[in-house]
């Protein structure tokens, strides 16, 4: 096993192979980043929607709850395949990468909606009452009172989720998206030993995720709200 790895390493770590792997690494990052950024926007909207009390929005509120609860409980692989086949049936010509991003968006939206909701609910009810007593509208309350306090609670777990999802996007290889895991399969199929290929892939994932995770920890310490309120 080790002899084979040592023997194959020079042929494996050539310039073009490294370029291929680095591009795949970029695709992995982009997949998660694009999905989570979009997911943050929509998730935020869903979380705010759930907090409203108007009767006119009651159906929208229930749909938001249904969406969140449903997509949090479906594995990414199933969402991915479902998205892939739905677009195929609709005969809409999308790249595989786009389909994967859409799948990531769906999952990310559901999870981040929950994270944002947790952040909003972490602000004490007194704040809402005080704003109401001062005749703030719902949106004024949200923008001027709640969000400034809630974002410190929202950002760390949202970032952690983004880092977590970088790893989950490995499953996009199942529909042929050329990201890091798929690149590994290509190299393995070329005849390189699985230990060398997947070992390298694991190290590349680690090199991408670990610094981001450390940054997440740092951000968590920096932003940690006072525990007594």
């Amino acid at each position: 096993m080790w002899e084979r790895i040592v023997e194959e390493a020079p042929a494996f770590f050539t310039y073009w192979n490294l370029i291929f792997l680095l591009k795949a690494l970029g695709a992995t990052f982009l997949l998660s980043a694009a999905g989570c950024l979009f997911g943050f926007g929509v998730g935020f909207a869903l979380a705010v929607l759930r907090r409203t009390r108007g009767l006119g929005l009651i159906w929208a509120r229930w749909l938001a709850i249904l969406f969140t609860e449903t997509f949090r409980r479906i594995p990414f692989l199933v969402t991915l395949l479902l998205t892939f086949f739905v677009f195929q049936a609709l005969a809409i010509d999308l790249t595989l990468f786009t389909i994967a991003v859409i799948s990531v968006c769906l999952i990310a939206t559901a999870f981040i909606a929950e994270i944002v909701r947790g952040g909003i609910e972490s602000v004490h009810q007194n704040q809402w009452d005080a704003a109401e007593a001062m005749n703030f509208s719902y949106w004024q309350t949200l923008r001027l009172v709640i969000i400034p306090q809630a974002w410190k609670v929202i950002i760390p777990p949202a970032f952690s989720f983004f880092v977590l999802f970088i790893k989950d996007t490995a499953l996009a290889s199942q529909i042929g998206v050329v990201e890091l895991t798929y690149a590994g399969k290509v190299m393995n199929n070329k005849g390189f030993s699985a230990a060398l290929v997947f070992g390298t892939i694991l190290i590349l994932y680690f090199a991408l995720s670990y610094p981001l995770a450390r940054f997440g920890f740092w951000m968590e310490k920096k932003l940690a709200p006072p525990r007594n309120r």
């Binding site: 199933v78 490995a170 699985a194 694991l202």
Partner: protein, 224 residues
Amino acid sequence: MNYTLQFGQVTDHLPYLMAGALVSLQIAFLAFCGGMVIGLLGATIRSFGPRWLVRIVDIYVSFFANTPQLVQIYFIFFALPDAGILLSPFSAVVLGMTLNAGAYLTQIQKAGFDSIRREELEAAQTMGFSLAQQVRYVILPHIMKVLFPPLSNQYILMTLGSSMAAVFGVEELTGRAMTINAMTFRSIEIFSITAGLYVVVTFAATLILALVGRYMFRAKMRIV
């Protein structure tokens, strides 16, 4: 749009899919139990072990928590045979999930250990509790209350995570969905039903775990 939904062919296979759901739960359960053992060991070492051992556990946790479970299983399934270790798909998946879960469960249980306050232990010692009594009446009830919600979440996530066993040919819920898809080509119907089954199974599991937590450990968990 030429596609017409035909659920008839798929509902015929519903019992087959539901049996697959049991396999998913089985995989998650086995990996969770293995992960709990590793987690307990890791958390104990981190809390009470020598520095060099703590360093090793830290490296294990960092590496396995920052790399994809899928690639970990690829390594176990495709690379180990070169070293003479040949595992069945099921074994490879359970082993991979166990090692991956072990990293997360180490962190969860470490947090549980950290949640014990010194005052509680000192009070117990003042009342003449033996070490076994301290563990039985003071430490365990507290830790279980603190740990039950995150452990429940971890179990649910592992049930969902077991779907990647399908990649290795294991016939759990997603794997069986792929098999039926290959037979019937009713892709949207099959994966819609599969998604629905996952929602139902995990929701039921959440409900059961919430009830268990409430009445056994006095842990409060929100369901929706």
